[in-house]
Symmetry: C2
Subunit: 318 residues, 2 copies
């Protein structure tokens, strides 16, 4: 038995993991706006202890507890250097967690941390979309574009802090200004946010687009599914939006294939809900973009299988 913990902006999800299954779950509010990091970590430790006790799992039966955290982490030191969306900076996460586990339950269980996208990628390789593969890239298309690279079934996070920021690869010199300060990062073109921005602009400029009707003429209610649904019904504004989005996403995927040549390329995040409808089209485009079309290996592009559980499962096996 192991515990995998996935710290998110709103909630912290804990799972008791047995093999490839999550046999029990707990959720804690993150509430980082109100609580100090120490309090959040204490709450997580309390929940982990409860998860073990409620399921009659003793200290020695729990092989490890792994924690997936957003932002820049330093796995060797067990610290969170900087996690923007929970406003943590230089937090000694593992030290505090170990201290609470000892103080509250006299438990000493091996601990590990990783970036959340890295943990999710590991989860997909161990028990998800890339099961049986050794090397994979997971690109998550959500608010931003995150990613994880797995090499020989291990997380590759760059040699030094700040590596594997796959969304912060410029694909457009002098392009759109990114939150990281650069212009033209992949994140500005391939995130779910970018897709929504494109669609809202198109729907505004083309009032007869189905997208307006679908969201009841309130573009704040437009979602990804509506955009793809309109595109499937040949709405010209939506067709243009999806074409542009897929073109830019393909550029990013092909860049990463040319660098890593993974065995398999996994897409996660909200946009990946389109499954084969999205990946079939991306595969066609990426096949034509990779270097050395004749001999170069082009990986299959698939969507995440574990979804929101990928981080818990990956964290359990750090």
């Amino acid at each position: 038995m192991r515990i995998g913990i996935d710290i998110g902006g709103m909630t912290v999800k804990l799972g008791l993991v047995d093999g490839e299954k999550i046999v029990a779950k707990k959720v804690v509010e993150t509430d980082s706006a109100k609580l100090a990091p120490e309090e959040v970590i204490h709450n997580i430790a309390t929940a982990a202890i409860a998860l073990l006790k409620e399921n009659q799992v003793g200290e020695k039966e729990c092989e490890s507890i792994g924690i997936a955290c957003p932002g820049s982490v330093e796995p060797k030191k067990g610290t969170v250097l900087y996690a923007n969306n929970i406003a943590w900076e230089n937090v000694p996460l593992l030290e505090l967690f170990a201290q609470y586990m000892m103080q509250d339950a006299q438990m000493q269980i091996p601990l590990a941390i990783a970036n959340d996208a890295d943990a999710a990628a590991l989860g997909e390789v161990l028990y998800g979309a890339a099961k049986g593969k050794n090397n994979a890239i997971l690109l998550t298309l959500g608010t931003g574009v995150g990613g994880g690279v797995i090499m020989d079934k291990k997380i590759f996070s760059g040699y030094m802090a700040g590596g594997c920021e796959l969304g912060h690869m410029v694909i457009e010199r002098e392009g759109k200004l990114c939150t990281c300060g650069r212009k033209g990062c992949l994140e500005m073109y391939a995130s779910a946010t970018a897709l929504m921005d494109l669609a809202r602009t198109a729907a505004t400029n083309q009032p007869d687009s189905m997208m307006n009707e679908m969201c009841g003429n309130d573009l704040s209610k437009l979602n990804g599914k509506m955009i793809f649904d309109a595109q499937k019904q040949k709405d010209s504004a939506a067709m243009q939006v999806v074409d542009t989005y897929e073109e830019d996403l393909s550029i990013g995927i092909a860049n990463l294939v040319n660098i890593f040549r993974p065995e398999i390329f996994i897409l996660g995040g909200g946009v990946s809900a389109q499954k084969e409808y999205l990946t079939d089209e991306l595969q066609k485009r990426v096949n034509g973009l990779c270097f050395d079309v004749k001999y170069g290996y082009v990986p299959p592009i698939v969507t995440s299988q574990l979804g929101n559980d990928a981080g818990i499962i990956g964290a359990a096996y750090l």
Copy 2:
């Protein structure tokens, strides 16, 4: 003692390597336009045998022979999949080389091959600009943009054939058409060729630019040194050219830093002759471009130390 062999478009360079020194060299014409791959490989084997005999190095004193080859190679099988500039396709290089070594000299020495940029990167890590480091990226700025990535003192060439093509990362959607078929690859902006193209256009459009005088008004004779010399003398056309070139090169370097966070970033190829004059400026730009400026590690940018010997030395230690 080891032998390192670097196959180039015009010549094949062989070196007898002892520790970090090349103690003897031989050069063979590649002549791939006239000779079949089998003949070229036979000539290389003959030269390797001569190099050993002339230096009284017996079969058992030579630990290994490594061959660096341009293009896509398959190190495990010992084959060259495709090397555009010597027009080799599916050549079983190591099998043939071993056969000639046995047939002509009854020698059986451990053999290895690698891509030439990969071998050069390894050479720089072992005995050159990145000596003492475990992880480095070498970006070669020549006719094209090639690269090698070293992880834990070993070559990383992607999991499958065709990986680590660092020059074929799009940095400009819908940009300049690259020889690989894509638009906007880094190679089209950061190669020595790209610098020359920029400069020729600028010198043509601005007839009073010093660059015209420097090359005797024959732009086919313009070279990289002239461009930087004119820029140092505040020639406005040259200043604009170098600024654009450095900006685009910085984008490529920052992209790779965000992905790999190497300990050190090495520039090779013709343009790197500018040494600190180039790297000081690039360092300033890249420092401001990398993700997570506060905690993220930004590697020092340096130029190659081994130059044309990097491939021989790296090949010797494959």
